[in-house]
């Protein structure tokens, strides 16, 4: 399934709303990183990833999210992953990321 990223600057929440669709793996995780880096360069603020339409993500995609979390946490900002499907929720759980990213 094709991968796509939707981006919205929610100024009320001071957050980038990143809507992911399709599959994120080693072939396209760099595109996610580019988008997150680009958004943060434009405005350093929180990131809320809507994963409702995300059907698959691997460790390279999770690594991008972890890296971003680590970078903006220092600024007192947060990254959240909202609406993950059960298979992705399971992956977040076993990797210990759920309690950090899905609060």
């Amino acid at each position: 399934m094709a991968f796509s990223i939707g981006v919205n600057n929610n100024k009320e929440k001071s957050a980038w709303e990143i809507k992911l669709s399709g599959e994120v793996d080693i072939s396209n995780a760099h595109l996610l990183k580019q988008q997150l880096d680009s958004s943060l360069a434009e405005a350093m603020q929180n990131i809320e990833i809507d994963a409702e339409s995300l059907s698959y993500i691997d460790s390279t995609g999770l690594g991008v999210i972890i890296g971003t979390y680590g970078a903006i946490k220092k600024e007192g900002l947060w990254v959240k992953v909202a609406n993950p499907r059960p298979n992705i929720k399971k992956l977040l759980n076993i990797s210990g990321l759920e309690k950090v990213l899905c609060q």
Partner: protein, 138 residues
């Protein structure tokens, strides 16, 4: 009887999805439920990703994926003859301490029933993992 599917895969990130799809079909055909098929998809992708990340300097390298179905077991072998890595140097990530790398092998071990990883610098990598069925359709 064991049925075997062998795939010779170009060592490019773009083909990982193809392997994932083929493996999902085989796992489904073997009788695994949809949740377990999802687990197997993640495991095979992480194995392929690991091979690509620790493989050849040659950009045109290929690696082998072997799927074996039989005896109530799906066995998946992913191997290459590339650069390999020091498996004894692998450190299991500490949950709660977020790390960018090192998650792939941890995830494979969490999702599959048995995992054997052979890898040394200069000798390539061989990842063999199995998933058991209570009853199998083959």
């Amino acid at each position: 009887m064991t049925e075997v599917l062998k795939i010779n895969v170009p060592g490019k990130a773009e083909y990982v999805g193809t392997v994932r799809l083929a493996t999902a079909h085989v796992a489904s055909y073997a009788g695994f439920d949809i949740d377990t098929v999802e687990d197997i998809k993640v495991a095979i992708s992480e194995a392929c990703t690991n091979i690509i990340c620790h493989a050849h300097e040659n950009p045109n390298f290929v690696y082998d994926v072997v799927l074996e179905v039989g005896g109530n077991v799906l066995t998946i072998t992913v191997k290459d003859d590339g650069a390999g890595f020091g498996i004894e140097e692998y450190v299991t990530p500490v949950l709660g301490e977020l790390q960018v790398g090192g998650l792939g092998i941890f995830i494979i071990r969490a999702l599959m029933d048995e995992v054997d990883i052979q890898s040394e610098p200069g000798t390539g990598t061989n990842i063999r993992m199995t998933k058991h069925l209570q009853s199998i359709a083959v």
